[in-house]
């Protein structure tokens, strides 16, 4: 959440009032949510999970952030646990579909469209969000300003389709995120897996909830999506005393 002296604070407050009154008429808690199955994570989100029919932004942290390789897997894992087709608006040719299948997103469910520029991604996403029955719409964007984010959020609320924006920023750009109407903003980065072994285990991510409307920000170390798109709590961290940052302590499943 931006500090109160930020010039955008009145805009955001106005927007919040606006978006909350649109759609079902009830508050965000009444909307359906998708739990992650990681207790601390779900507790931080209003409604006990990721709000469906809303816009969520996913940034990738780390020096290779502009490839957003972890962020697309996080997005794929979320969509894998929803029903229905997915519209994926591509930014470049480097997405490797077999990896999405490995986090549980079946290739039969995904329709790709080659919208190379942001100016094509945004209308395509909005078009997708107006069609009920989709599980979600993913757009790979380099930049999203307030107005497009507001349009996407309103379209998502209207149809109940979840919108995920995967940011493909240059390394320097990620520092100051722009204001947006998104329900949550995530920052995903790879984290070292279990320190003991030289063998490759399940990958780990540092998942940071940077902004969550109606919820608290936080950060967690989680094990990457499995073949059903589920995250998990690392076994070695599950019984550790509380770390300085909010690290999840109990396995959900």
């Amino acid at each position: 959440m931006p500090p109160p002296h930020s010039p955008d604070a009145p805009t955001l407050a106005e927007l919040r009032r606006l978006t909350d009154s649109v759609g079902t008429g009830a508050g965000p808690d009444a909307a359906p949510t998708l739990p992650f199955g990681v207790a601390g994570l779900d507790a931080a989100l209003p409604g006990g999970g990721l709000a469906l029919g809303a816009l969520h932004q996913i940034h990738e942290g780390g020096p290779r952030g502009r490839y957003a390789a972890t962020a697309v897997l996080f997005a794929g894992g979320i969509l894998a646990r929803l029903d229905g087709p997915v519209l994926w608006c591509l930014h470049s040719r480097d997405l490797f579909a077999p990896a999405l299948a490995r986090v549980g997103l079946h290739p039969d469910r995904v329709v790709y469209c080659e919208t190379w520029r942001d100016t094509e991604v945004l209308p395509a996403m909005e078009e997708g969000l107006r069609h009920r029955g989709l599980a979600g719409v993913v757009g790979e964007l380099t930049r999203m300003t307030l107005t497009p984010s507001r349009r996407l959020q309103l379209a998502a609320e209207g149809s109940g389709v979840t919108a995920l924006v995967v940011h493909r920023l240059c390394a320097g750009e990620a520092a100051e995120p722009e204001p947006s109407a998104a329900r949550t903003r995530w920052r995903v980065a790879p984290a070292p897996s279990d320190g003991m072994s030289r063998r490759m285990g399940r990958p780990r991510w540092r998942l940071e909830l940077q902004r969550s409307r109606g919820g608290a920000p936080g950060a967690w170390i989680v094990e990457a999506c499995d073949a059903q798109g589920r995250l998990a709590v690392p076994a070695s961290l599950a019984n550790r005393p509380a770390a300085p940052e909010r690290v999840q302590r109990r396995a959900a499943r």
């Binding site: 490839y67 390789a69 329709v111 790709y112 094509e120 395509a124």
Partner: protein
């Protein structure tokens, strides 16, 4: 073979006959003397014309405006239609491949003007002329490539003007005075200074509706209303015949007879007026009304029976919610906006090479139910082509200790491999000795990469980075 007075002459020859030195206009007796056992068929100009028209109607699969150019040519106005086939070159390749399969010899040319394409197809090599390149391409062609009458041709040849390039730099007034208006008129048409409307063929059986305007119209809002009106009129016609539109051609007849056409395709047969209106309205921005539009014709140039489709739709509709119908509408909108080649699903290919593991299928193809092998971890981003890295391993077959990519050094904490992938020699010979040893590595920061070495270390195998992230 045709009758020319008392003489029997050859009306046309095929490629084999041309090799024997036969040519149209030769007397039949002469030809038979040259080639004993020559197979002669009586000429049937009416049947030829009908055949050409049928071929022209078939060519409407490429673009709405197709005109015949008797006796043996077709002109297709592909303005605004090439993107449906992935561009101009794939469009030409598709036409020539299909014609060849049916045994029709053709030379294709694509240019800014019908005149330029005509000349290039008949007197040049065919091919694609870049926009604005007509003058340059036409320059070396004989003047006959301008579609001149024999008199004008002879007049030009008499003064030694045999190439078109020789005409373009002459003063126009002098040309007109000496050779008449025809030469300049044809030259201007070929170069695009003079418009050339095409008289579009219309298939008699395709459902069509037309609106004529008392006053020429041109405003965008008016055109949108026209589209709505036409769709509303076309739908009952489709309903009556039990058809759904797969392709709609909307032709605006301008006052200067330079017709403007837009074409939309749908992924499933449809006769939903609102949906079709929306698809057409998407492309209205491409229409240049010029000085006004007198007539609008909407034609369902490709139709499919719809009655059964609707029932199956209903069943899936009840079973799976509203998604089936909605998805088709979404896909249509995206197809119209982005072009057919840019909306697709991906399906697995049984290939070990990661570059070849994926193929495109139509967005609304039936579910295939197959996935890639689930036991092989794969990167989320695949670099194409792989980027060379400097890597260092302790012992020949061990995973590397570190690698340098784009001036950044990555120390490897964990690694797994090798997974050996061999080239598919049955696909190309070049891959006969392709061997890649893939390693999944995790750096100390936890980033995962997919590296490979393109040969054994003893044989100076180099290291490449092929992917980032891992699932």
């Amino acid at each position: 073979m045709a009758q020319d007075g008392a003489r029997r002459v050859l009306a046309g020859v095929d490629a084999a006959a041309r090799r024997f030195g036969l040519y149209p206009g030769m007397s039949a007796a002469h030809a038979q003397a040259l080639v004993p056992g020559l197979h002669l068929v009586p000429a049937a100009p009416e049947a030829d014309a009908a055949g050409l028209e049928r071929l022209g109607l078939w060519c409407q699969r490429y673009a709405p405006i197709v005109a015949t150019d008797p006796p043996d040519g077709l002109l297709i106005d592909i303005t605004g239609a090439a993107h449906l086939f992935g561009g101009e070159a794939p469009l030409l390749a598709d036409i020539s491949a299909r014609l060849e399969r049916t045994g029709i010899a053709a030379r294709l040319a694509l240019a800014d003007t019908p005149g330029c394409a005509w000349g290039l197809a008949r007197f040049g090599e065919g091919g694609i002329v870049p926009p604005g390149g007509a003058a340059q391409v036409l320059a070396p062609l004989p003047v006959a490539a301008l579609r001149l009458g024999s008199e004008a041709q002879r007049a030009l040849q008499d003064v030694g003007l045999t190439r078109i390039g020789g005409l373009t730099d002459k003063p126009r007034a002098a040309l007109r005075l000496r050779f008449g208006a025809e030469v300049l008129f044809r030259l201007d048409r070929a170069l695009g200074y003079e418009p050339e409307p095409l008289a579009a063929l219309v298939a008699p059986e395709s459902p069509r509706v037309a609106l004529r305007f008392a006053e020429p119209v041109g405003a965008r809002e008016t055109l949108e209303r026209v589209v709505t009106d036409l769709c509303a009129r076309l739908v009952p016609e489709l309903e009556r015949r039990g058809l759904g539109a797969r392709r709609l051609d909307l032709i605006f007849a301008r006052v200067d007879r330079l017709d403007q056409a837009i074409r939309i395709g749908t992924a499933r047969p449809s006769r939903d007026a609102a949906h079709l209106t929306r698809l057409l309205a998407e492309r209205l921005a491409l229409v240049d009304p010029g000085f006004g539009i007198e007539e609008a014709v909407l034609c369902a140039s490709r139709v499919e029976p719809l009655a059964e489709h609707q029932e199956t739709h209903l069943a899936s509709h009840l079973a799976a919610g509203p998604q089936a119908l909605d998805l088709a509408a979404l896909i249509d909108t995206l197809l119209v906006r982005l072009g057919a080649a840019r909306v697709y699903r991906l399906a697995p290919v049984e290939s070990d090479l990661p570059e070849r593991a994926v193929r495109r299928v139509p967005a609304l193809a039936a579910p295939l139910g197959v996935v890639w092998p689930t036991d092989l971890p794969r990167p989320a981003r695949l670099l194409a082509p792989p980027e060379p890295v400097t890597a260092m391993a302790e012992i020949p077959d061990a995973p590397p200790l570190f690698f340098v990519w784009r001036n950044t050094r990555h120390r490897i904490a964990r690694a797994d491999g090798p997974e050996r992938i061999l080239g598919e020699w049955w696909v190309t010979d070049a891959e006969a000795d392709l061997t890649r040893d893939y390693y999944r590595v995790e750096t100390e920061a936890g980033e995962r990469f997919w590296l490979f070495r393109d040969g054994p270390m003893q044989a100076n195998g180099r290291w490449w980075l092929h992917g980032l992230g891992e699932a």
